[in-house]
């Protein structure tokens, strides 16, 4: 989780920022799934053999969150593509210097 956040903050490349965001989100998803585990529990299917079940609700929540995450990454990548088309670079520093030039 911290790794993803670190990538977002430190990298100068927009593409890497999107990837960092994806790692950050995935870490949170894993955290949720780990919450669901019940000791000695099995998959929540009603059988006579099992007497403890893992909690299925966090999985369902994360399924939703994954969809949201995919949409976020997709939109992020689409924006990176558009930025590249407009600026011909996706390095933060180069874009900043380009903008400074155009402001003058």
């Amino acid at each position: 989780m911290v790794g993803g956040l670190f990538i977002i903050i430190t990298s100068q490349n927009y593409l890497k920022k999107v990837v960092g965001l994806a790692i950050f989100q995935t870490a949170v998803f894993v955290f949720f799934v780990s919450l669901a585990k019940v000791l000695d529990g099995t998959a929540p299917i009603l059988t006579k053999m099992a007497n403890a079940y893992s909690n299925p609700l966090p999985h369902v929540l994360i399924l939703t969150a994954i969809v949201v995450g995919v949409a976020t990454s997709a939109l992020g990548l689409a924006l990176v593509l558009q930025i590249y088309k407009n600026y011909e670079t996706i390095e933060e520093k180069e874009i900043e210097s380009l903008e400074l030039k155009s402001d003058k």
Binding site: I8, L21, F24, F32, L61, A65, V68, T72, L79, V80
Partner: protein, 498 residues
């Protein structure tokens, strides 16, 4: 025949815009997406009025999706807290959609009009979901739908200025971090209580009356995530570029409603759920929210003075205004929360009106509106300029405008809490608001250049004047806003005093 639909009104106000949004997405026509959006939003307003009627009878509606009882199913809750906001939302969205047509025609490719209105309705539906939802995870989903829709809408501004892409990208990254923080918080809360329903959460949290580290960590994560989304001071950096490079119609919608709905949920979470730990709550309000609000008010106003670009100026003034709202909410009593809600209502109207007027100028001027470019606009376009003047005076807080009512209630609330330092700061920052607004007025009416007045487009100035007149009307006859705000505060604060 309508009765079947009316029973499902709480769900329909959210589902209807989302559904229609999918239908109009690929319409190639220039005008039909707009007409369909207007019809949808008229229905939306009708449903909101129906909800108001229901609430005035019963006082509380809990709508269970698929008849799954809470805490298992997702539920929507409508009560005194959010009905006023729902009504304001419905009316303002209709007005700004009416306004948006000519603006979109000028600012984006007409072939994109279907997609733009599809995103527009997506944002409307999901923001409305934030107002109504009673489930903390469901809120995250609505939060992300609204964020993604508004990011795409902001990126549509790229046709005018490519910086819109950078603004949208920054919003995406910062917004997604905020939302993910919120989800971590939800995870902690769920791990400790096993519930996501807000009412049930309160009951379940009560068993840890002495407090648990995991719960405090979760609460902090949730609050920080929401603070990012609501653009409360130190984490506001995504907001000014996003508002200023978005197409003007989009800035209107976002500035007036997007942060307001999230602020509403923020205060609801504080006073309805986290109230269970009064010591944590007062720690957060006194040592985090209160100083940050003061900083936001002061710094937002000062930065606004030095802005040359009018839309940026308005965006920074929004930061300060959000500061006023959070300052009021940090007061922990009835008068504070009520005055916060008063300012949510009034500021939505004021900022909406200002962004509408400036957006129209941007089209007339065919470039970004800077201070210089406004020279002589007061004579050239008198109708819109006069509306801008009234909205601006209201922003400063002159009597006879609704901004005055906000300031009055805020001062009263601060006075009863004996916070004289904040009273002084709010007064100073109001005076500074005069400075930046006067710069605009000076350029518009008192510059050397004089123009003959030109014809203005009634489709655009009509909605602007609807907002402006409502500003004056609520400035003179403020009872409806005060009543709704008091109602909201009654519901929220009753828990605190027990």
């Amino acid at each position: 025949m309508f009765d079947i639909f009316l029973d499902d009104a709480p769900a329909l106000v959210v589902v209807l815009p989302l559904l229609i949004s999918a239908i109009i997405a690929f319409m190639p026509s220039k005008i039909w997406p707009w007409i369909i959006s207007i019809i949808t939003l008229l229905l939306h307003l009708f449903l909101s009025l129906h909800l108001l009627k229901e609430i005035s009878v019963s006082g509380l509606i809990i709508y269970e999706f698929g008849n799954w009882e809470p805490p298992w199913g997702i539920s929507f809750k409508i009560d005194g807290v959010n009905i006023g906001l729902q009504l304001l939302f419905s009316i303002f969205v209709l007005v700004s959609t009416f306004y948006s047509r000519k603006i979109f025609l000028n600012e984006i490719d007409y072939r994109d009009s279907g997609k733009a209105y599809s995103l527009w309705l997506l944002a409307v539906g999901s923001l409305n979901g934030i107002i109504l939802t009673n489930d903390i995870f469901n809120l995250f989903v609505f939060l992300e739908i609204s964020a993604l829709a508004s990011i795409s809408l902001i990126a549509l501004g790229a046709g005018q200025n490519r910086k819109a892409l950078l603004a949208a990208f920054n919003y995406l990254i910062i917004g997604a971090i905020g939302a993910t923080f919120y989800v971590i918080g939800v995870g902690f809360a769920y791990a400790m209580t096993g519930t996501l329903n807000m009412n049930d959460l309160v009951i379940q949290l009560a068993q840890y009356s002495d407090g648990q580290l995991a719960i405090f960590a979760g609460m902090s994560f949730m609050l920080i995530g929401l603070m990012v989304k609501a653009a409360i001071f130190p984490v506001h950096i995504w907001l000014p570029p996003a508002y200023s490079y978005a197409p003007s119609a989009v800035s209107t919608l976002l500035a007036a409603l997007a942060t307001k709905t999230i602020l509403y949920f923020f205060v609801r979470l504080l006073y309805e759920v986290f109230i269970i730990y009064p010591s944590y709550l007062s720690l957060f309000l006194d040592f985090v929210l209160y100083p940050l609000s003061l900083l936001a008010i002061f710094i937002g106003t000062v930065i606004a003075i030095y802005q040359d670009d009018i839309k940026k100026l308005l965006a920074f003034s929004s930061i300060a205004q959000i500061g006023y709202i959070t300052l009021a909410f940090s007061l922990k009593d009835h008068s504070g929360v009520a005055s916060g809600f008063v300012h949510i209502f009034n500021h939505a109207l004021i900022k909406g009106g200002l962004f509408m007027a400036v957006g129209y100028f941007a089209i007339l001027y065919k470039d970004r509106v800077t201070l210089n470019s406004l020279k002589g606009f007061g004579y050239k376009y008198p109708i819109t300029s006069f509306a801008l003047l009234i909205c601006g005076l209201s922003l400063i807080g002159l009597p006879l405008t609704n901004g005055f009512i906000s300031k009055l209630y805020l001062f009263q609330a601060l006075y009863t809490n004996q916070m004289y330092f904040s009273i002084a700061l709010v007064a100073v920052s109001s005076a500074l608001a005069v400075v930046y607004f006067w710069k605009i007025v000076e350029q518009m009416w008192f510059s050397e250049i004089k123009f003959k007045s030109e014809k203005e487009d009634a489709y655009i100035y009509l909605p602007i004047w609807i907002v402006t007149i409502s500003i004056i009307v609520f400035g003179i006859y403020s009872t409806p806003i005060i009543e709704f705000s008091n109602l909201s505060a009654d519901y929220l604060i009753s828990g605190y005093q027990n």
